[in-house]
Symmetry: C2
Subunit: 92 residues, 2 copies
């Protein structure tokens, strides 16, 4: 499912105009991005949390060679589904 | 950041009433949950995708014992950040 289909669905379910739904969905994704950029977790009770995770600096082999290269410390994102969401997905 | 704070922020940014933002955010999370329950991925261009992942059945040791137990096949969720989101998070 793509964002445009989700926007249609939410608009139908709520009776609110597509244009408004789209503005809100985009603004929400922007706010989540800004929070993660500030290394802040974003949590939705009953759904799950987006959590910034630090990946330590490490040395890796260049594939196919015996040469090592240093990978710097960097941040990634992990999504931790809530217990409720996990249960729904597992059951289905 | 919790959902209530996100709703406030989105309401301020968009000028749309908090009550509407909350209805849309909740409806959106419900639609994502329903799609994942149907084993369908949900993708937001420029942000990332929620992908259902199958975890194969396997045998594990009961911690602290030498006894094995069968864990059944089950589904989980993975969030794959978009290249854009990854870059924003890494840079910050």
């Amino acid at each position: 499912m793509k964002k445009s289909m989700l926007v249609n669905e939410v608009s139908e379910k709520t009776g609110l105009p597509k244009s408004e739904v789209e503005i809100i969905v985009n603004s929400m994704l922007d706010s989540i991005t800004d929070a993660l950029k500030a290394r802040e977790a974003v949590s939705f009770i009953g759904f799950g949390s987006f959590v910034p995770v630090k990946k330590n600096a490490r040395e890796i082999f260049i594939p196919g060679t015996t040469q090592k290269v240093q990978v710097e410390e960097k941040y990634g994102i992990k999504f931790k589904p809530s217990k409720k969401l996990k249960a729904i997905i597992e059951e289905a």
